[in-house]
């Protein structure tokens, strides 16, 4: 099969047409938005455009009928009154500026829409509409018909709180304001202007400083005290303990100096300290808002399901589906609860659960697990277990998903010793000064605590990890938080899932061997495979691109054997060797094609491994990682895998979701620290159990199981570089620790000898912070360049 490598660029926006490719008016478009804009420039009337499009989509009716249910509506709407409703909709198909334009002009499509506001990064829109003119259902149909089907799932309706980033930018703003003004007011002190005239000013400025530092200290710096208190309550010394201590001492001593008129205080240092610490926190906390790392089963399941109630079919929220209810599942819908099939047959695709694309044929009375997707006609089911009790969802409720992984970061481990050291130095210095000059004891001991405040220390890890996250993110490897960067350095075992992780999910390589097929045979084959739902047939069908489809008669499909059809008095068969009457030795994974029991040729359907895989696995084994493979698939590919990936320590096949989870657990009991890569819901348990779980996604904005990091499919083969990078980044953190220790030595020697002045503190603290930040950023970027990331 030929892989299409040629890039097609969108006529309107110039971006590469990746998932969707629309050919219209002899031009290529990457999405409906771009095409609409193009049409718009031709016609200049959006309304006409919509009307013509709406007529062509009658099948959308019924798809959103659950939006008629008042209870569901209430859950989804952010605001509703008689003539104005507001709803936040997830529109995953937004991907370029044209999409923004079309969606924000939605009111031109329909008079009932008041206003739309798109959030591009979140792929969401806030729609204001008038429910008297357009119902929620109609709105959803309208959006789907113009190419933006809204996504509803069971996790919706749980309205999200205000983002944390907002609060931190507010705190930084206040701290920056206080810091800047205090610096200005401290200038006379810095310049050492001392005459009678300036004395009044000094007092005035000092009191202003005291007044200005209060918001910075109590509003911006609040959380350091809370965190230190929480840590101490659990008898655990985190990095915030010495920070909070230093801040409190700074504040109290400065306030005392100002009120007693004995000095100018260190308010500038205090405000600066809070400002720099918050900047560090902000830098580290920059997360990928548009990605979800914490999805549970609710995000996979639909919001509602059709229930048979007497003669009527009513949509009900899935939480209300009870045991014994009869539900109706239409084509491409997901079964929300474990159930027994009432219809004669069903075709269930479990790719959602297992990651392996394989439609399973079910018969009347069969038990069907939640999470499968029906392909084909509508089916009737009787629910045996509620959604929350189902096989799949109960996996989620198991301990793995509840326990919080508590790991002590490097900085918190150091901070314990740091705090002890600072206290010892302060005590020793006090004892020494007791013999030299007892009046200086108080001054010296507070100076030690002030100058030793581990600002630079606290900044080194956030900035290095924050920088790591950015560089990895640029390479389409998105970490959930900076902690993950640190955890990655401790990993020594890597477990791969097969399908979708080291192979590309959709692509398969179909190779043909035998006598060359005539175009007629190809057309017959295409006609046969078009009728079959077997995944192998589907792949062969896909490989016959551009071949004319011929209608075949007397189509038969025998489960486990193959398919047969008649064309022009000749019987064609496709399937296993015994089915096609060809007595060759049985090869798994081969599909034979015969005409009147005479072999024409055979097809070999193999997974398509990611390019660069062999090199990556080689590199990883050179870096002394233990490599393992867990697959839900059968042994078919074992030989191929052994051949291309000889470094794998073990390979396990036919692994169920809980097998994978238990395998990871057993590895951990053998003191392995496990990095797991997987896609699909079947890996969700193992991902969550492993020390670092990475979800592989072809499209990062599409759903992925709960994990610590998300990696885009094409970047999987860069894993060895990523791991090298985080390992080196750890060295950068250690180096910046050393730098900040050196600054502390200088500062402490001044403090111990009693020479610490406000000016000195005001220079030393920012200087040390800036050195550390500059060092980590520059070193991190140089490292990235070296590894070509």
């Amino acid at each position: 099969m030929i892989q299409v490598e040629e890039k097609v660029l969108c006529h309107h926006c110039g971006e590469e047409c990746r998932d969707e490719h629309i050919y219209y008016d002899n031009r290529d478009f990457c999405c409906v938005g771009c095409k609409s804009i193009y049409e718009l420039f031709q016609e200049d009337d959006l309304k006409e455009l919509y009307q013509s499009r709406n007529k062509s989509n009658p099948h959308l009716r019924g798809k959103y009928d659950f939006l008629r249910n008042d209870e569901i509506k209430e859950q989804l709407l952010n605001f509703q009154s008689a003539d104005h409703s507001i709803i936040h909709l997830d529109l995953p198909d937004i991907h370029c500026s044209s999409c923004v334009y079309v969606l924000e002009n939605l009111n031109e499509f329909h008079d009932g829409i008041i206003q739309t506001k798109v959030n591009f990064m979140k792929r969401a829109a806030e729609v204001h509409f008038d429910p008297r003119y357009i119902s929620l259902e109609e709105l959803a149909i309208l959006l789907s018909s113009i190419g933006y089907p809204p996504q509803f799932n069971a996790a919706d309706g749980l309205k999200k709180g205000k983002s944390k980033r907002n609060r931190i930018s507010l705190k930084i703003g206040v701290a920056a304001f206080c810091f800047g003004n205090i610096m200005l007011l401290s200038f006379p002190e810095y310049l050492g202007i001392k005459d009678q005239m300036s004395h009044d000013f000094d007092r005035f400025f000092s009191y202003l400083n005291l007044f200005l530092v209060i918001p910075a200290f109590f509003f911006s710096g609040k959380e350091y005290f809370i965190s230190a208190y929480k840590g101490l309550k659990r008898s655990f010394v985190n990095i915030d303990v010495p920070i909070a201590l230093g801040m409190a001492i700074l504040f109290l001593r400065s306030a005392y100096e100002i009120i007693s008129a004995t000095g100018a205080g260190y308010m500038d240092s205090l405000a600066g300290l809070i400002f720099f610490l918050l900047i560090g926190k902000w830098f580290q906390n920059k997360t990928y808002e548009n990605l979800s790392f914490d999805r549970d089963y609710k995000s996979y399941f639909p919001l509602a399901v059709l229930k048979r109630d007497g003669d009527q079919e009513v949509p009900v929220p899935i939480q209300q589906v009870k045991e014994g209810d009869e539900i109706i599942i239409r084509n491409q819908e997901i079964i929300p609860a474990d159930a027994v099939l009432l219809s004669d047959s069903a075709n269930i695709d479990y790719s959602f659960v297992t990651g392996e694309q394989r439609a399973v044929k079910m018969n009347k009375g069969d038990h069907i697990y939640a999470g499968g997707r029906q392909v084909g006609e509508r089916i009737y089911l009787k629910v045996t277990k509620e959604t929350s009790q189902s096989y799949l969802t109960s996996l989620w409720n198991s301990d793995t998903f509840l326990q919080k992984k508590d790991s002590v970061s490097m900085i918190d481990r150091i901070s314990k010793y740091f705090t002890i050291a600072i206290f010892s130095i302060a005590i020793v210095a006090s004892v020494c000064w007791y013999f030299i000059d007892p009046s200086q004891i108080w001054l010296v001991s507070t100076s030690v605590l002030i100058v030793a405040c581990p600002c630079a220390l606290a900044l080194s890890a956030p900035f290095t990890h924050g920088n790591t996250m950015r560089i990895l993110g640029r390479n389409r490897f998105y970490l959930k938080s900076a902690e993950v960067a640190e955890k990655l350095t401790n990993v020594n075992t890597i477990v791969f899932d097969k399908t979708g992780t080291i192979t590309t999910a959709g692509d398969h390589r179909v190779t043909y061997s035998g006598t060359a097929m005539k175009s007629l045979e190809k057309s017959i084959l295409k006609g046969m495979t078009a009728n079959s739902t077997h995944p192998l047939s589907k792949r062969i069908y896909d490989s016959l691109e551009g071949v004319e489809l011929l209608r075949v008669d007397d189509f038969k499909e025998v489960v486990g054997k193959g398919i047969s059809a008649v064309f022009g008095k000749k019987v064609y068969k496709l399937g296993s060797s015994s089915w096609t009457m060809h007595n060759n030795k049985v090869r798994e994974g081969s599909v034979f094609f015969s005409e009147n029991d005479q072999l024409i040729g055979s097809f070999q359907v193999t997974n398509y491994y990611r390019p660069g895989l062999t090199k990556m696995v080689g590199d990883l084994s050179l870096l002394k990682y233990d490599l393992e493979l867990l697959s839900g698939d059968n042994h078919q590919e074992e030989k191929v895998l052994k051949n291309i990936l000889p470094q794998l320590r073990s390979m396990l096949f036919k692994q169920k979701p809980e097998d994978k989870l238990n395998y990871v657990k057993s590895l951990q009991q053998q003191r392995h620290r496990v990095l797991m890569l997987g896609d699909g819901l079947n890996d969700a348990g193992a991902l969550s159990q492993s020390d670092v779980g990475i979800a592989v996604a072809e499209d990062v904005s599409a759903f992925s199981p709960a994990c610590d990091a998300i990696i885009e499919g094409a970047s999987v083969t860069k894993l060895s570089e990523f791991l090298q990078y985080v390992t080196e980044a750890k060295k950068i953190v250690i180096a910046s620790f050393i730098i900040s220790f050196l600054y502390n030595v200088v500062g402490l020697s001044f403090a111990v000898s009693g020479w610490l002045t406000p000016v000195f503190a005001a220079v030393l603290m920012p200087l040390s912070s800036i050195t550390v930040v500059a060092f980590t950023t520059i070193a991190g970027n140089l490292l990235a360049r070296k590894l070509k990331l």
Partner: protein, 62 residues
């Protein structure tokens, strides 16, 4: 020289005004989404042109 006291107090009030403007801006969500407005602006011209056209049409319907 006592005018400095007054001036500094005035400057603090002005600075405080800017701070409260900043707080208002953050709270009203202006920093929530920094990506979309940059795309929105690309189409502003188009919209204006269209409105002008419409206005022209209404004034002298032909």
């Amino acid at each position: 020289m006592s005018v400095i006291f007054v001036l500094i107090l005035v400057s603090m009030v002005v600075a405080g005004g800017f701070l409260s403007l900043f707080i208002w801006a953050v709270k009203s969500g202006q920093f929530d989404d920094t990506m979309t407005p940059s795309m929105r602006v690309l189409f502003d011209d188009k919209k204006k042109k269209k409105m002008k056209q419409q206005a022209n049409l209404e004034e002298n319907p032909s």
